[in-house]
Symmetry: C2
Subunit: 413 residues, 2 copies
């Protein structure tokens, strides 16, 4: 058994101890963790400065890696928020008595051991640990070597709190940061119940292609807003601008705008100054290009610009014939994340909401709302674009599995 597998097995062995804690104990442990984090922030910031010292300060990754007092306070606050969320484990999902007298219950229970592989942000260590602790799950964490000092300091604080609460430290286990150890995680089907990659597309693809442990994928968003012929132009401009510019670097930002041909002229002319204010670069199809001629940041779209996640102040624009045409386009290019229609025609709206296959579909609202906090689910691990187990915001409520509990008095089949 490799050292890593031994570590993973320890987390597996420790998991039942955590499951035995009461809801109140779990909440209090998280509050204690938030307090300890604030008390011990010096040690964390010191460790973080060792990680930062190895980085090129100009690199955007360096900012993601950086912790400061404000960020630590934000982490502590987010742990306190998680402590206030209801524990998804323990809920009775179904209850039934069979004709033979057997009493059946389907109960939500913790998954067991959650594995996570993530990149430079050290706050992820606290995010995942607190969500797992709240829901009674042990976890094994694999951070990046860039953040290793920070992650180890984080784990020291977390494990202190675990011990103070009478739990084995292995309940939250930090694995070595060397890349090779992921192979042990990928094959640990006996001990790890789900593996969550969090970071770049490349990381997510690598995990999906190699893990034998089931993966929950939080993927890229190629999101569309379709402005239908009966759209309220004012609303449409507001929604499109918000979906594009309010935070272009995130997965629920709009990437492509589809406009009904019958209102394309009117709408695009009104949209132009609004997007121009933010210097949004537009990749337009031939029909849209004609209308937008004169817009200072206009490019001709290539085929590759549709289906592209820009993560930037850029978007593709295409003129479509009708809702059916828009739906076909979305079906082809969307990553099934968030898709919106803007219209005052209820029938067309319902048709779009029904036909478009995505984690979140919107009528007259910005795609930017796809988010655990916004939906009232609390902190999320990411937006799942797969269809099994979790779809859309992957939050605390999904860190459980089901268990059938059957009580009888001697029944046989």
């Amino acid at each position: 058994m490799s050292t890593t597998i031994t570590q993973i097995k320890k987390a597996y062995d420790a998991a039942p101890r955590l499951r035995a804690m009461s809801d109140k104990q779990l909440r209090q442990m998280l509050l204690m963790l938030a307090d300890e984090l604030e008390k011990q922030q010096k040690s964390l910031l010191k460790a973080n400065s060792l990680d930062l010292a190895k980085q090129d300060p100009g690199n955007p990754r360096t900012d993601r890696l950086r912790l400061d007092e404000k960020r630590v306070r934000a982490i502590a606050q987010s742990i306190r928020k998680v402590s206030r969320l209801p524990n998804p484990a323990g809920r009775i999902l179904e209850k039934r008595t069979l004709n033979n007298g057997l009493r059946l219950e389907k109960v939500a229970v913790p998954l067991g051991v959650v594995g996570a592989i993530y990149e430079s942000r050290p706050n992820v260590t606290f995010d995942i640990a607190s969500l797992c602790l709240r829901s009674g799950n042990a976890c094994v964490l694999k951070g990046s070597s860039e953040a290793d000092h920070s992650n180890r300091a984080a784990i020291r604080i977390i494990q202190q709190v675990l011990r103070k609460n009478g739990l084995p430290a292995a309940v939250v286990t930090l694995l070595p940061s060397e890349r090779e150890i992921v192979q042990d995680l990928f094959t640990a089907t006996q001990y790890v119940d789900v593996l969550i990659p969090r970071g770049s597309d490349e990381l997510i693809r690598f995990v999906r292609q190699n893990s034998l442990v089931p993966v929950i994928e939080t993927g890229a968003g190629v999101c569309h807003v379709y402005v239908e012929r009966k759209a309220d132009i004012g609303k449409a401009v507001k929604i499109v601008v918000n979906a594009k510019v309010s935070r272009p670097s995130v997965c629920n930002a709009m990437d492509a705008l589809l406009v009904d041909e019958s209102i394309a002229n009117t709408f695009l002319r009104q949209l132009q100054p609004a997007l121009g204010q933010y210097q949004v670069e537009i990749f337009a199809d031939p029909a849209a290009y004609k209308i937008l001629k004169g817009y200072p940041h206009l490019k001709k779209a290539t085929l590759a610009d549709f289906g592209r996640e820009f993560l930037d102040l850029k978007c593709a624009v295409k003129i479509v014939k009708d809702a059916g045409d828009a739906i076909i386009h979305i079906r082809k290019y969307s990553t099934k994340h968030s898709e919106a229609i803007v219209t005052e025609d209820k029938k067309q709206a319902e048709y779009f909401l029904r036909e478009v296959d995505a984690a979140a579909v919107y009528h007259n609202a910005s795609t930017r709302f796809t988010d655990g906090e916004e939906f009232g689910l609390g902190a999320e691990i990411g937006i799942s674009t797969q269809k099994l187990h979790a779809r859309g915001p992957f939050a605390l409520e999904k860190l459980v599995t089901e268990k059938w509990v059957i009580r009888g008095n001697g029944q046989v089949r």
Copy 2:
């Protein structure tokens, strides 16, 4: 694009047409399928005889492959039963209005395209197709080459019915039976939403190790019955005998019996004649061996006999100190399928039900009840021993995913 991928894409393109059907239409289509199957059974039986002619009649696989009038009638009846099950798609799982006025709904919707890879039984073609059609899912099926004539005849009947209902035949697609084509299925993440292997452990492992499409695994069952010190001996004998002998070849049959040391003597002496009647071979640990000495089918257990799925009139027996000891043993050897405790002590029972991590946990009942029909869920695809999406009987109700539908009036973030 390979021919197979083209076929898979056709199923994907056809899926929305199926989703647009009403619940009544879906039910009636299944009833029509059952009728057509009975009407056209000659063509199916003829095709089946071509498959059978290639087989060694002495091979047990040949029996699994065989269809006859009685089996066809059973398939038709099971299709009718599926038609009566409630459609899991369309249910509203959550409904909420946010402070900003956005109206949120989480709705159950069909997965889209279900892929299935299975072995010789031709009834699986009808089983999977009918469950998929009932829940609004298209499917792509890959049967074995042994059953290819039968499967093609089955698909001809199914596709006739689809066409009569105005649907594209591609809604239920049979892929070529050559083994190599599974590679196309494994990588078709764009078109296939879930892949279900149904058959041997080897097949399931192969699919899990190679598929990029998410897999739902229906695995082996190493099931335990623990007879606690406060067990009612009569009940315990009845439950153990039933769990072992009522159908030893299935995954919910008992593989290992754990007996509390304080009642081992009394209990095993009463169990002995009951199991002896069925000539159950016992692999006993040293303590049980002593008590059972004289039992005609007694062997000394090796370590490998614990954690072994016998699928036969065989079982392992071990004496344990107490419930804690039993739970530790189960945690080590179980496949997390079905586990039972027999006791009149409610506290010990609840402790066992809580601590044992399995898809189904039983108090005073046989493990043999773990089954979709028994649980009232209808026909099942198998018993899922994984924890994501479906756990325990994997039936119609799990052939859906979720979709967040958000209705607004211009909200931006």
